[in-house]
């Protein structure tokens, strides 16, 4: 059956990725780490890559470190990271070229989001012809996604979306997604902690029940998948080209479920995170929500459920208020501060709030032991950054970017690196992705991998 299906999928055209080879790669690094393999550290532990996006930039005079190299000083906004100073490096001078308007006019927030991991120009449209490019995390997932239960994990704290139009003629898809598996398919992030947990570790009150539910489900799924693939094939024959493109998205999804079933058989029993399922609702308290999401990302890494994650704290242009830290105004409205010091001070509070949460995440990763006895943080590469410098004037250069983790001992954390002003941010990603052992020569508008990693 599966041979036929592959035939059929191939017949449908380009967008469906088929597994290329039965792996010589470690099937599960936790079980059998093999140094030198892709997405694996020298000591045989999984090498994780994550991208965390914070909205609306940061006030530069409180973010920019003083001095460069290892002998630098953290500025006020980053004070919460002081205990981790040896665990991360700060980069100054990165740019997202296609964040700027060029001939596309307004819509900087949509572009800040959409270019962040893709480095390409978003087609300005509110509907019909969305076109961006594959994002860095998904390029990596294409290479190493097979090694883990999940290709990648996409998280966000934006649960409710506004009705109406998004930013200045850009489709909302650009603004609510930073991860794109192709030029036209955003990887929708999940905002509900419980659903993230159940997706990773199954549904049920304890590990045994989760495993039982999972096994029963795998079994049923097979016959259903066979039917719906046939059904889709039959429908596909009767559709025009555009409709077929839409149906391809469906087929890609079905194919992924199939791969997951195949994978599940390969990977054996579900991992047990030794944590309860989060409660049903999205927490009202923003800090609690963010931390829960960070916890889940940490659990996913610890159990080697995936090695790639993206987390958009909020979309760029987010107008969330922060009453709990004394900022009742909306973040976006404030970000157009017109150099009003009162407003700037409030934004700084927000910037620090986000950094505090990131510090919590780093703590967590540093205190969690990996299979090789090092910390998870040691065996990770985690970008924390924004697509705006300071959203007041919508600048897309001199971006605030941090790279945390030691890449399994291959990075040089503990310093501040300053670049010439228009170094493409994708050059950083290119270097990172090459580090996780895959051959790539371009991501978006990258020109060359940065040397200082």
């Amino acid at each position: 059956m599966s041979v036929n299906r592959r035939h059929f999928l191939r017949g449908l055209g380009a967008t469906i990725a088929l597994p290329t080879f039965e792996s010589l790669l470690p099937q599960n690094a936790l079980a059998a780490g093999k140094a030198g393999a892709i997405a694996t550290t020298a000591s045989g532990a999984p090498l994780r890559t994550a991208f965390v996006y914070f909205p609306n930039g940061a006030i530069a005079d409180q973010w920019d470190p003083k001095g460069t190299g290892t002998n630098y000083q953290l500025n006020n906004t980053l004070k919460a990271l002081e205990p981790h100073k040896k665990d991360f490096q700060i980069y100054s001078g990165f740019e997202q070229h296609w964040g700027w308007g060029h001939e596309d006019g307004a819509g900087d927030h949509a572009r800040a989001n959409s270019t962040f991991l893709t480095g390409v120009r978003a087609t300005k449209t509110s509907g019909a012809d969305i076109k961006l490019g594959i994002s860095a995390d998904q390029l990596a997932a294409n290479q190493i996604g097979d090694l883990t239960r999940f290709r990648s994990l996409e998280l966000s704290c934006d649960g409710v979306r506004k009705a109406g139009r998004c930013d200045s003629g850009y489709s909302c898809a650009y603004q609510y997604n930073i991860s794109w598996s192709s030029a036209t398919t955003p990887m929708t992030p999940e905002a509900n902690p419980r659903l993230v947990f159940e997706r990773l570790f199954g549904e049920g009150k304890d590990a045994a029940e989760r495993q039982r539910n999972y096994d029963a489900r795998q079994h049923q799924e097979r016959s259903i998948l066979d039917f719906i693939l046939d059904d889709a094939a039959q429908l596909n024959k009767q559709l025009g080209r555009n409709d077929q493109d839409k149906l391809d998205e469906y087929l890609t999804g079905v194919r992924e479920i199939e791969q997951r079933i195949e994978k599940a058989e390969k990977f054996g029993p579900l991992p047990d995170p030794h944590a309860p399922t989060p409660r049903d609702d999205i927490p009202e308290d923003y800090q609690e929500h963010i931390r829960l999401m960070y916890d889940l990302m940490a659990m996913a890494f610890e159990t080697d459920s995936t090695r790639i994650a993206t987390f958009m704290l909020a979309h760029d242009g987010s107008n969330r208020t922060f009453k709990q830290i004394g900022v009742p105004e909306g973040h976006h409205s404030l970000s157009h501060h017109r150099e009003d010091r009162k407003k700037i001070d409030k934004i700084i509070k927000i910037d620090r709030f986000y950094v505090d949460q990131f510090a919590y995440f780093l703590d967590k990763l540093r205190n969690t032991k990996d299979v090789d006895g090092k910390s998870i943080l040691h065996n990770s590469m985690i970008v924390y950054g924004s697509g705006h410098k300071d959203a007041n004037r919508h600048q897309h250069n001199e971006l605030p970017i941090i790279l945390a983790g030691n890449g399994g001992g291959t990075l040089t954390p503990g310093r501040h690196v300053k670049f010439n002003n228009d170094t493409p941010l994708c050059n950083l990603y290119l270097a990172m992705l090459q580090k996780s052992c895959f051959q790539a020569d371009r991501i978006g508008d990258s020109t060359a991998p940065i040397a200082a990693l």
Partner: protein, 799 residues
């Protein structure tokens, strides 16, 4: 119904398509004849001069901005055939994005001249035979999924919780091109299918029934029920229960102990007796107010069985301790335990309409086929083909044949497959020659039924629509069906979804507003109680109910803007300082001019969704009116806009919003757009962030007077409402409303070929008084709603 496809017929139609395409290619490849002299003269004398005046600055051969030049061309034919160029011109002129604001602007008439010329000369739009356009296959969005599942299975599924948010295009979340399907969502669809079937299809077989004796069935000597019985008042309650099937029963009593939230030593003995023999007994004491479950077993006879509850105090409370009370909820009798009598739940018969299956393979197969066909016909919203049906029957049978699985499990499995199928998840319409843009056909009656039901109900067709479609009579009865559908409670969907997104009322309850600033109340809890979710909900309902009223009573659309009545409850009326409205129910209230309300422009819903958390935004309010009332959205601001901060420095810090905007707009770069929306927004400054009337902002008096770009002058928001609801502006509003509704109904943006159709609908509405229902009729009767065509570039195929 689509005939089942056999392999033998496929190559046939395939070749036919190839031949047709080849024929089209032959017709279209050599250039058509040079335009005739009149056409050429029109272009050179009227059109080209406008292009030279307003476009050549950037789009001549020397600058060629955006790699686009109008200057030189080989021949007029070649120039006219450059469809991409003219489409870009048409789109930019219509959206007002070109020429850019800092350049000199063509007049409205000149813009119209060019767009009209492009429609006629380049796109050869034929008003008598319009291109219906093409709607991309549409995935059900979250609302449609929820409603469809409700109507199909009766299950209340929460799609908002289960699925990621749908992306929007052209302001709506039902646009085919934009509704993508990520792998994550596919996974969720499969999970949802399973969950929904598990909830709606009972697969466990018959079970031993439970008889409930409610506490309220019992009475003491004073005819009182065992509710809040003080422990110290030793009491007896009796009940006689009629039992049909004698045998051993399991008894489960659920009681609650009330009276004290702190520990007390008060206790009593609770006993249930049957014919004075104890069945179960428990010493009850203080237990955190939780309910206590006591179990036992008893033999019951056919006929009346006498039960008695006794309560007897064991230990009194200490001094200073509180007294306890007993509350009996229910005593359940489950049996007979030997299983000699079993029943199916009601829900079982709703799905398995002929009852339990017979014990013979052939009749089980026939039964499964009948059930699956019925379900699939409704889920796919058209009759299922035999080939797919047999596959589903095979799935059901293979499950039925497994050990420990049942017939019901098999049918359930087939239902899961149906709910995960693309024919359920997508609203697919098929047609012959799907890639021939010249092939225009009326959509079949089943597709029409779905178009209608998803437009008005955001859900699947009901039995009557299906019946008419099967009998091929829907097209002949459209207006009466629309009338019927609009009075159905399901029509609430078009208010929620269309109005919710058009007038942004969906955002009223979620948009971030600082309640302390708004109410002047320093305590956050108190501020939230004043500016409560109830109040916000009333604000949303005010606007939605006004439209629902216009729709139901078939009132003119422009009454939205000048109604001398509105919908209020006590909370909202108090907020507006309108006396005499009592209670939480929203109702129609006549408005006196002194109450400062008149139509949508004075609704708090509008004011809230266009405000920043702590202050009003005249710019956002102006844009709202341009976008949603006048249908002339302003172009996005140019890059590198000079900042209001500069204006603020010039003006000094005490400057009012009007002064700030005036300074900002004094720069030519900003003026051309700000002139369009500033006066509209400033006219609404009399309403604060939360929609309450105010005469002053930060101590300075508000001056709402202004003038529209089109010349009309007004002194306040009420005069503005009159201007917008009469004359040419009213026509603008009809057009705006029609375009929005048209987009929502079709699930695609409006294109150049829709313009003549929309023109006609607007003209007819003008003539007939602008009745909303009339506009709905006309949209449903329009070619785009009634017909479809093959995919591809229709112009290339036509020339």
């Amino acid at each position: 119904m689509r005939p089942p496809q056999t392999p033998a017929t496929r190559p046939h139609s395939f070749f036919a398509a190839i031949i047709l395409l080849a024929a089209l290619a032959l017709v279209s490849s050599p250039a058509a004849a040079e335009p005739n002299p009149q056409q050429a003269a029109l272009f050179q004398k009227t059109i080209e001069p406008i292009l030279v005046d307003y476009c050549f600055d950037c789009h001549d051969d020397a600058s060629e901005k955006g790699s686009l030049s109008f200057e030189s061309y080989e021949s007029l034919t070649e120039h006219f055939d450059n469809h991409d160029l003219w489409l870009a011109v048409w789109k930019n002129l219509r959206a007002g994005t070109m020429p850019p604001p800092e350049k000199s602007q063509p007049s409205k008439e000149q813009r119209k001249e060019i767009t009209g010329w492009i429609q006629r000369q380049i796109f050869k739009v034929d008003p008598d035979n319009p291109d219906p356009g093409r709607v991309t296959i549409r995935r059900l969005n979250r609302t449609e999924y929820e409603n469809t599942i409700r109507d199909l299975t009766g299950v209340d599924f929460d799609a908002t919780d289960a699925f990621p948010a749908d992306d929007t295009g052209y302001g709506f979340d039902n646009i085919g091109d934009v509704l993508s399907l990520s792998p994550l969502l596919m996974e969720k669809y499969l999970n949802a299918a399973r969950e929904i079937v598990a909830e709606s299809v009972h697969t466990e077989g018959p079970y031993i029934p439970t008889i409930k004796m409610w506490g309220s069935n019992f009475r003491n000597e004073d005819k009182r029920q065992p509710r809040d019985v003080p422990f110290e008042k030793s009491d007896r309650f009796t009940n006689t229960e009629q039992i049909e099937h004698a045998g051993e029963y399991e008894v489960r009593a659920e009681v609650q102990i009330k009276g004290s939230s702190e520990a007390t030593s008060h206790s009593a003995n609770f006993t249930l007796l049957k014919d004075d023999k104890p069945v179960l007994s428990r010493e009850l004491g203080w237990d955190f107010n939780k309910s206590v479950v006591i179990r036992g077993k008893v033999r019951l006879e056919k006929g009346g069985n006498n039960f008695t509850i006794t309560l007897k105090e064991s230990e009194p409370p200490e001094e200073n301790e509180k007294h306890l009370d007993l509350y009996v909820y229910t005593i359940d009798l489950r049996g007979p335990l030997d299983g000699s009598h079993r029943v199916y739940p009601d829900q079982y018969h709703a799905v398995f309409t002929d009852g339990p299956p017979e014990d013979n393979t052939a009749s089980r197969k026939e039964y499964a086929r009948k059930l699956i066909r019925n379900f699939a016909d409704r889920a796919y919203r058209r009759p299922i083909d035999d080939e797919s049906l047999e596959k589903l029957v095979a799935i059901a049978q293979s499950v039925d044949a497994q050990p420990n699985r049942t017939f019901e499990d098999g049918v359930a499995q087939a239902y899961v497959a149906i709910l995960a199928s693309p024919r359920f998840l997508f609203r697919a319409e098929t047609q012959p020659q799907p890639n021939n843009p010249g092939k225009i056909i009326p959509v079949d009656e089943f597709a029409l039924a779905s178009r209608l039901s998803y437009f008005l109900w955001s859900s699947m067709p009901d039995d009557e629509l299906f019946r008419l479609a099967r009998e091929n009579k829907l097209r002949a009865n459209l207006r009466s069906q629309i009338d019927r559908m609009l009075v159905d409670p399901k029509a609430e969907s078009i208010i929620d979804n269309f109005v919710g997104q058009w007038l942004l009322t969906r955002n009223v309850q979620t948009i971030d507003i600082d309640p302390r600033r708004l109410t002047g109340e320093r305590n956050l809890g108190k501020a939230f109680r004043i500016f409560s979710q109830d109040l916000r909900s009333a604000m949303r309902r005010e606007t939605e109910m006004l439209i629902a009223h216009l729709l139901k009573e078939n009132r003119p659309a422009h009454e939205l803007l000048n109604a001398d009545y509105t919908f209020l409850n006590e909370k909202l009326a108090n907020w507006y300082k309108i006396p005499g409205v009592k209670g939480s129910e929203m109702r129609l209230v006549k408005i006196d001019p002194k109450h400062k309300r008149k139509g949508l422009l004075t609704h708090a819903s509008l004011h809230i969704v266009t405000s920043n958390p702590t202050e009003t935004s005249p710019v956002k309010r102006g844009l709202y009116v341009l976008d949603n009332i006048l249908g002339t959205p302003a172009p996005p601001p140019p890059p590198d806009i000079p900042e209001l901060e500069e204006a603020k420095e010039e003006a000094g810090h005490s400057a009012s919003k009007r002064e700030l905007l005036a300074l900002h707009a004094s720069k030519a770069l900003c003026a051309s757009c700000h002139e369009r929306f500033d006066p509209l927004g400033l006219a609404l400054e009399n309403f604060d962030v939360g929609g309450r009337w105010r005469d002053k902002d930060h101590g300075a008096p508000i001056d709402p007077a202004g003038q529209l770009m089109t010349g009309e002058k007004f002194n306040d928001v009420f005069e503005l409402a009159d201007i917008l609801s009469s004359g040419d502006r009213r026509t603008d509003f009809y057009r705006c409303f029609t375009e929005k509704l048209y987009t929502y109904a079709l699930g695609r943006g409006t294109e150049y070929y829709d313009i003549p159709v929309i023109d006609k609908i607007v003209a007819n509405s003008e003539k007939s008084g602008g009745y909303i229902r009339e506009i709905i009729y006309q949209i449903v009767e329009s070619p785009a709603f009634q017909k479809r065509r093959g995919d591809g570039d229709r112009l290339a195929a036509k020339n």
